[in-house]
């Protein structure tokens, strides 16, 4: 029984319920089904994590948790919902895991150790949910470190994270990443196989290993966020909701690892970027550049949350972390009520530090833009020179745009026109292409 099978069954029942109930009853078509769907998203990640440790087998843990949901469907349909559904699911899943361990004679020692920690519970004990839920955060944290293990590639980590921690089914993940379902299914199967083969342990890495492993978790969360953020508002709902999922995962991480500045830094960065979502596209769905955005449409509650997270990161001494630096830059923009109010000297200084800790040509390009704003086009132009010869930026449209921009400011119109034509040729997006050609024509 796989997760996809569970969702297929769920969908089939939902369809028949809808067909039977007709238009008016649709909202209440099958409350049990909807509750189980909701509980799946809420509870299955922590349960899989909880079972995976003693079982030492992620695949089996997932299967037992799926079986538990099917049992609930059967049981609750016949006998009604228990008073505490979450406790029922936890108890049932755990009893199943204990049964599974009993069937492995060689692992008796392991089973006994676990049984001492957590004796099987009678089904009639619905009110000890507190004790059962005590370590949810810890379980989720372990699962996150496993799903984002560096033995897996970034794409596999992202898919597995959405599946295991987001409770998303394969078709939903495929839609979110705009790739065919079989690709995602295969990615997840391979990832789980790799984790089993490399005998990855279900634990939070210790001190020395923590920094590197955490980096890999943060990278995945930011990848999920950007996958959603790069979509326009008119797109499928799944993509924007990836931003929210990334924020939720990062908040879970921040609650569990409150002393890690990079976690708060990434949370701040994502909150501050997401605060601009509503202003990033115009009424026709075309992208709007930061300079042209209506800043009154930024979400100021979200900016406040981002700022608070940034303060925590800085208070923890994270001033030189790359996520914290990027968040600080985003905060400079968030603080400027108009584009011309931006503290460009500070932005340029932050980019200069970022270029030291994370030296990439794209960071250098952004630094050149900030310096041009702070000190004039000439200073920016000087910084741009080495980048114009950098092979990694050969086909990078934004470089040609910045080149055109600065040449225009320097009064070199003919060269500027060439640069905008070049940028237009490098751009796949038709709207952007048209805008660039228009700029060239104006020169």
């Amino acid at each position: 029984m796989t997760v996809s099978a569970w969702f297929a069954i769920a969908a089939a029942i939902r369809l028949s319920a809808d067909a039977a109930s007709g238009e008016i009853g649709r909202m209440e078509a099958d409350p049990l089904r909807r509750t189980l769907d909701t509980l799946w998203r809420m509870e299955s990640p922590a349960l899989v994590a909880r079972l995976a440790r003693p079982l030492g087998d992620l695949g089996q843990a997932e299967e037992l948790v799926q079986d538990t949901w099917l049992a609930a469907l059967e049981h609750w349909s016949a006998n009604g919902m228990p008073r505490n559904p979450a406790a029922w699911l936890t108890t049932t899943a755990r009893n199943r895991a204990i049964d599974a361990l009993r069937q492995r004679p060689r692992q008796r020692g392991k089973y006994e150790r676990w049984a001492l920690e957590a004796a099987p519970q009678a089904m009639t004990a619905p009110d000890d949910s507190q004790a059962l839920e005590d370590d949810i955060g810890d379980d989720l944290l372990r699962l996150m470190f496993v799903a984002c293990h560096p033995v897996l590639g970034p794409d596999a980590r992202a898919a597995l994270t959405l599946r295991l921690l987001g409770g998303l089914a394969t078709p939903e993940i495929a839609r979110a990443f705009l790739v065919p379902e079989p690709t995602i299914a295969q990615r997840i199967v391979r990832a789980k196989r790799t984790l089993a083969r490399r005998q990855v342990r279900f634990e939070v890495p210790r001190r020395a290993a923590l920094a590197a492993r955490l980096e890999s978790v943060l990278e995945v969360i930011y990848l999920i966020f950007n996958e959603g953020y790069s979509a326009s508002a008119g797109d499928d709902w799944m993509r924007p909701s990836l931003c929210e999922e990334a924020l939720r995962l990062c908040r879970i991480l921040a609650a569990q690892l409150p002393g890690q500045p990079a976690v708060h830094g990434l949370l701040a960065l994502m909150e501050l970027q997401a605060s601009r979502s509503a202003a990033r596209v115009d009424s026709g769905g075309a992208p709007v550049l930061l300079a042209d955005q209506d800043r009154k449409r930024w979400d100021h509650a979200q900016i406040t949350r981002g700022r608070a997270a940034l303060q925590r990161a800085l208070a923890l001494g994270g001033g030189r972390d790359r996520y914290v630096l990027q968040a600080s830059i985003a905060e400079c923009h968030a603080s400027a009520r108009r584009m011309e109010d931006t503290d460009w000297r500070r932005v340029a200084a932050l980019y200069s530090t970022l270029a030291q800790v994370n030296p990439t040509p794209v960071v250098e390009l952004n630094r050149a833009v900030a310096v041009a704003r702070a000190e004039g086009a000439g200073a920016g132009w000087a910084l741009l020179q080495p980048l114009l010869e950098d092979a990694r930026l050969q086909d990078y449209a934004p470089l040609a745009v910045v080149r055109g921009d600065l040449l225009q400011q320097l009064g070199r119109r003919r060269e500027a026109r060439e640069a905008f034509h070049e940028a237009a040729a490098l751009t796949a997006n038709t709207r952007e292409k048209a805008a660039l050609l228009a700029r060239a024509a104006q020169l």
Binding site: R34, T35, D37, T38, L39, R41, M42, P85, A86, S129, Q130, E133, I136, G137, L140, A233, W237, P240, S241, E244, L247, R248, L249, C250, R251, I252, A255, Q256, A278, A279, S283, G284, D294, K296, R297, W298, D299, H300, A301, R305
Partner: protein, 138 residues
Amino acid sequence: MVLVKADARTEDGQLPSEAELRAMGDYNERLVEAGIMLAGEGLHPSARGRRVRFDGDQRHTVTDGPFTETRELLAGYWLWQVRSLDEATEWLKRAPFGPGAELEIRPVMGIEDFGDAATPELRAQEERLRALAGTRGW
């Protein structure tokens, strides 16, 4: 957004017991650990509040609390980021409230809620209005 309704006790200004505080603290901690808690506040009784009624023609009637219709009063709120109304409901069922307490869940509006009704012209108008009012987008 989860709205906590007032009752006679909250309106009396009675503070929660230590046990109640601890239960609510534990609950809030679980919300934080699940990554869904964005904000939450408790409100003073309406006796410390004030109402402003708009009478038109730039005239107003200002009334100090307390206000009597307890069922319509608020005692606090949470702001959660959840994936559905059902998920909010499941979380809320786990909150440590006693019998008689009543809470209300109201989704915060987002751009997606306007759907096809928000034509480009309407969206543009809305944008202009919001820019004028200086409120948050959609």
